[in-house]
Amino acid sequence: MTVDDDEVRHVAQLARIDLDEEEVDRFTEQFGDILGYFQALDDVPAVEPDPDLANVMRADEVDEGLTQREALRNAPETEDGYFKGPTVS
């Protein structure tokens, strides 16, 4: 299975990732390889599926969450308790 470089550019744009031409080439090749690996799954014989789960729900009750400090701890940039990021459109 092959992927062309336009598809790679489109997917990169959807993911808001900037790729230079060299990277586009590299990823085009890698995407092809990855899709190839998944194709191998088509050759795997069918197995007995897990029994169907349904209606897995929890009661509408409040659980303790994270503090503001904990929530922001992994963020590279914060301001006044907010996550801070680049402008978006």
Binding site: L14, A15, A54, D60, G65, A71, E79, Y82, F83, S89
Partner: protein, 496 residues
């Protein structure tokens, strides 16, 4: 008609709505974080690994959100399918910490349905195509300017994961006014169900599709065939957050598109942003196409099989039915019945008062006096629902004749609302208890003795004389005497 308008084509707007409402639950749709903001809360204080999208966190569906969705489906007359499931809608935007939104795609929890509403004296029925559950994104603020000029973005995930229901209508509306009337009816029904709070900031968000077709394409039943609809370019208007905003945005968009067509220009198929402060819609840079969302099954959430809940879950009497019952059961006219069922809280309040008093007296006190005074003060029934007992005692004081109707309306009720006093305190501090018979009789004697001219005028047949004397007695008793009784006593004494 001028020559120019005679040449103009007769055009009709075709409008469909996607209405997003926040469901009133205690917790978020996939985690146990609270959905209820504290006053002046700090950002990012109601989050957890699930609603922050941290690696490895797993969503678990909130039963309360599913119940609310089934109630909505019941009220809309929807089918609850045997099996419904969740999908991931993939897009990269900072309000979405996981880079996808969990929503429903090919198997929504509510399928089909309809809503009937009134507009300009007509009844209209609009078809509901579907209603599905999804999660609310977080909220962004664009620091240092507007969305276009901001230098950076600040993100608060407190709202992220609040349960939303998206209700999608067929393109059945032909005017902005119809769309507004529909939204009013929809939110009224949702409030009756107790699943929605219209007063909550951001609880309602509307996207609207609008296109223009030749009026001749509309058949007698108001329908338009698929092909005509497909061939008309339409715009999607986003960022509408109120009934009034919907009407204004759609009226603007309708005029904009009609003008373009009348001038021979094509309407571009695009997404537009409603700018409330400027009162216009503006083109948004084109976002992803439908296929770019790469919807796929949310493998972390097993399917739902809740069609049976439709029978198990009770919903309260809905507004139209309640209005009808109020007219029959309490003998109210259409206007009073309509006022008294305007919200579930008003209707409940009225029924509690009507249990104890004549239904007409109760209607006057709730529909006219109480709602009128509340409206004047920019207050709502919810500001006084905890004071039902005090209000009952006020009506009781009038009903038993302990205070005059005039004093009850003009003094006691107003001070109850302005100063948060109970009725007895107002009656006592203002000295409004009806004066006993002896005091009234003494005041009548005084008035006759002190005003011989008026007595003479009365005997000479002058109309105003008696009213003057009644006024004197009322003044002396501080307004607490019953004017009818005073009138009668004066006549007796003057004639006798």
């Amino acid at each position: 008609m001028t020559a120019q308008t005679a040449e103009q084509r007769d055009l009709t707007a075709v409008i469909g709505l996607e209405v997003h409402v926040q469901l009133e639950t205690e917790t978020k749709i996939f985690c146990g974080c609270s959905t209820q903001p504290d006053d002046d809360e700090e950002p990012n204080t109601r989050t957890c690994p699930v609603c922050l999208g941290l690696p490895g966190a797993l969503p678990v569906l909130n039963e309360g959100a599913v119940e609310a969705a089934v109630k909505v489906g019941k009220a809309l007359g929807s089918e609850i399918p045997e099996e419904t499931r969740f999908h991931r809608k993939n897009y990269y935007y900072p309000d979405l910490p996981k880079n996808f939104q969990i929503t429903q795609y090919d198997a929504p929890i509510c399928d089909s349905g309809e809503i009937e509403f009134g507009v300009d004296g007509d009844r209209r029925t609009v078809e509901i195509e579907r209603a599905h559950l999804e999660e609310d994104p977080g909220s962004l603020s664009h620091a240092g300017g507007s969305i276009d000029t901001a230098e950076y973005t600040l993100i608060d995930y407190n709202r992220a994961g609040t349960p939303l229901m998206e209700i999608v209508t067929a393109p059945d509306f032909r005017s902005a006014a119809e769309a507004r009337a529909f939204l009013a009816k929809l939110t009224e029904v949702l409030e009756y169900l107790g699943v929605f709070d219209v007063t909550r900031n951001g609880s309602l968000r509307v996207d609207a599709n609008l296109s223009i077709v030749d009026a001749a394409e509309v058949d007698e039943g108001g329908g338009i065939d698929e092909e005509t609809l497909e061939s008309a370019n339409r715009t999607e208007v986003k960022n509408i957050s109120s009934h009034k905003g919907a009407e204004k945005a759609l009226a603007y968009e309708e005029t904009r598109q009609k003008n373009a067509i009348q001038r021979g220009r094509e309407v571009e198929q695009e997404t537009r942003h409603w700018d409330e402060s400027r009162g216009i819609t503006v083109s948004m840079r084109s976002k992803e196409e439908e296929k770019d969302y790469r919807y796929f099954r949310e493998a972390d959430l097993p399917p739902l099989r809740v069609s049976g809940w439709k029978e198990e879950i009770e919903i309260p009497e809905l507004p139209d039915a309640r209005r009808e019952r109020f007219r029959e059961e309490y003998g109210l006219d259409a206007e009073s019945a309509s006022k008294l069922t305007s919200t579930k809280q008003v209707a409940d309040f009225y029924e509690r008062i009507a249990e104890k008093f004549d239904s007409g007296l109760a209607a006057t006190w709730v529909a006219d006096n109480l709602l009128g005074e509340l409206h004047y003060r920019d207050m709502a029934i919810t500001d006084v629902t905890d004071r039902l007992g005090e209000f009952t005692r006020l009506v009781e004081l009038v009903d038993t004749g302990e205070i005059t109707v005039k004093n009850a309306e003009e003094v006691v009720l107003r001070r109850m609302l302005d100063d948060r006093l109970d009725p007895e305190t107002v009656v006592e501090s203002e000295g409004l208890g009806k004066t006993d018979d002896d005091a009234v009789a003494a005041a009548v004697s005084d008035a006759i003795e002190e005003n011989p001219d008026a007595v003479e005028d009365y005997h000479a047949g002058e109309d105003g004389a008696l009213n003057f004397l009644v006024g004197q007695v009322m003044a002396e008793t501080g307004g607490s005497a019953d004017p009818g009784t005073v009138n009668e006593l004066l006549r007796e004494r003057l004639e006798g």
